[in-house]
């Protein structure tokens, strides 16, 4: 991973609003980041944070107020760059009078593919996203999850080197999410660069080489999931079983959460061995001891709350 597949430099986007569009709302502010070649990069952030805006800017659906970006060395204003990218819009909707096979064939024509090649690719992609049997059904009869799969198929149809996927897991049931996750992992193995946004932090932790957290139009943190949340343990968690009524154990049980005969207790690293001794003395059965790390979710929530607090402070001071 040496060259950047996506380079974004000081990208800023203002949307006009109000009567005569004289007022402006900033959706993205000075975004600068890189996605390396062959990397899976997760874009995290709450609704309205600027994730979709960034992706729309990259694929040319909107135009930057300031800054610039390059994909595979080509500026985003270059239409030829679109030959090497695949894009899945958020909550995709396609021509509902077409079947999935017709839609994919329609999109394939823009990539100057020959008829035989188009047929073969359409067939292969439909199989890949699990829609082979529904290929001749009009899209108006498709569920949200099926449309999401069609969206993924059209994004990878022309074998792009860079994939920009806006909420690829939204609207999918757990099985569908697993399938999309597997497809993303397969695309990663094939060496493609993937930039995707998600609300589902466990997916980001599982799939991404690096994640970027964007809040209020500003990038707040970038790095490998482990790196940005920190590897230092919060403390230790002990899971144990206890059925007795020893007086020594009562004080300990008060600190634990009970589910049936099982108890879950959190202690500091320093207190771990002493607590384990006490539990053994009370004839408790130790089932599991785990190290507690800050999750990506905690880190994410911390950034979002910090941003809200800052926004509230600005509002109060009037600046």
């Amino acid at each position: 991973m040496t060259d950047a597949a996506i380079e974004i430099e000081n990208l800023t986007k203002d949307y006009p609003f109000g009567f005569l569009h004289l007022k402006k709302r900033r959706s993205l502010e000075g975004l600068t980041m890189k996605v390396e070649d062959g990397e899976v990069f997760g874009f995290l952030g709450p609704n309205g944070a600027g994730k979709s805006t960034t992706m729309k800017l990259l694929v040319g659906l909107t135009f930057p107020t300031a800054g610039n970006a390059r994909i595979l060395g080509k500026p985003i204003s270059d239409i030829e760059m679109h030959r090497d990218i695949g894009y899945l819009p958020e909550q995709p909707y396609f021509y509902d009078y077409l079947t999935a096979a017709e839609l994919l064939d329609y999109f394939a024509r823009f990539h100057d593919l020959k008829a035989a090649d188009r047929r073969e690719r359409v067939q292969r992609m439909l199989k890949k996203v699990g829609l082979e049997t529904a290929r001749k059904i009009q899209l108006r009869k498709y569920s949200k999850g099926m449309l999401q799969r069609v969206g993924l198929a059209q994004a990878i149809l022309h074998d792009p080197r860079v994939l920009i996927l806006d909420e690829p897991m939204s609207g999918l049931d757990p099985l569908g999410r697993r399938e999309v996750r597997d497809i993303i992992l397969e695309l990663k193995r094939e060496g493609r660069t993937i930039l995707f946004s998600t609300h589902i932090l466990s997916d980001a932790e599982m799939l991404c080489d690096r994640v970027g957290v964007i809040v209020g139009g500003k990038l707040r943190g970038v790095g490998a999931p482990d790196e940005i949340v920190g590897v230092k343990a919060h403390g230790m968690e002990i899971l144990f079983e206890y059925t007795g009524s020893s007086a020594g154990a009562v004080a300990l049980l008060g600190k634990a959460t009970q589910t049936g005969n099982r108890y879950r207790m959190q202690v500091s690293e320093e207190d771990l061995y002493a607590t384990l001794e006490q539990l053994r003395g009370a004839a408790a059965r130790i089932l599991l001891v785990t190290q507690m790390k800050a999750s990506l979710e905690e880190y994410f929530m911390h950034l979002v709350e910090a941003d809200r607090a800052q926004a509230a402070a600005v509002e109060v001071s009037g600046k």
Partner: protein, 258 residues
């Protein structure tokens, strides 16, 4: 297949699958009823009545399609966000617009040709055989198509920067204004300031001249339509469409898709 024709063919396919061409059934019924009725109530003017009625119906149905479908060509794609995946492909925005224009024009050509065939069938019912002067009906139908092309281009232009409702109003307004350009040009009044008269004259040259496309009376009476008018109207429609589509492309190329 060029990217423009790929979009155009899909637009035509959409019209067919959304049953837009069902209006032909209504037109066929109208022509059958008119032919039977006219044969019974009019003496000697069956041809005039049938041709006038047929051409009017072709024009009105075509105009309704051109305005209402034309306005939705871009706005519907933006509202439903079907455009997002498409514009991420190697397609330029002007290619998309031109394809949409071509697709609706193809739909209108097929629709108008089918209605013209129906008109000739009704004509054949009330008088046979057909005469060479009846070919003027074909010229009138061709002029209707030229007019519709212009209306589609205008609808497309307005839909690129305003809401569908306003685009319909603007297109319909321009069409009505375009029917009175000769009156505007020759308008003279003592009570009107010379500056206003000059402005009206200037405006009359800027507005699309739809009056020139109306040769219904000549076609109904079998009067010859000069070849120069055919050439002039063809060039006028092509040039006007080119200018309007270029303006639409310039606006749409800068439009942010939220």
């Amino acid at each position: 297949m060029s990217r423009v024709s790929v979009v155009a063919w899909n637009t035509f396919r959409e019209a067919v699958r959304d049953r837009v061409l069902y209006n032909l059934v209504f037109f066929a019924l109208l022509m059958i009823a008119a032919a039977i009725l006219v044969g019974q109530v009019s003496i000697g003017i069956e041809q005039i009545v049938i041709i006038s009625l047929g051409l009017s119906a072709i024009s009105v149905i075509g105009l309704l399609m051109a305005v209402f479908i034309g306005v939705g060509l871009v706005s519907k794609e933006m509202d439903k966000r079907t455009l997002y995946a498409l514009l991420a492909k190697p397609v330029r925005r002007w290619e998309f617009l031109l394809g949409k224009f071509g697709g609706l024009l193809l739909t209108l050509v097929v629709n108008t040709a089918a209605m013209a065939a129906g008109l000739f069938a009704a004509l054949l019912y009330v008088k046979h055989p057909l005469e060479s002067s009846d070919a003027m009906v074909l010229v009138a139908v061709y002029f209707i198509l030229l007019k519709l092309a212009l209306v589609v281009a205008l609808a497309l232009l307005f839909s690129c920067y305003t809401t569908p409702l306003l685009a319909i109003l603007f297109t319909a307004g321009l069409y009505v204004a375009g029917l009175f350009v000769h009156e505007m040009r020759g308008f003279q009044s003592d009570t009107m300031a010379p500056a206003v008269q000059a402005f009206l004259r200037w405006l009359s040259y800027l507005l699309p001249n739809f009056e020139n496309f109306d040769v219904m009376a000549s076609a109904a009476h079998g009067r010859a339509i000069p070849a120069t008018l055919i050439l002039q109207n063809t060039a006028y429609s092509a040039l006007y469409c080119a200018v309007v589509l270029a303006a639409a492309a310039a606006i749409f190329s800068r439009r942010n898709l939220k």
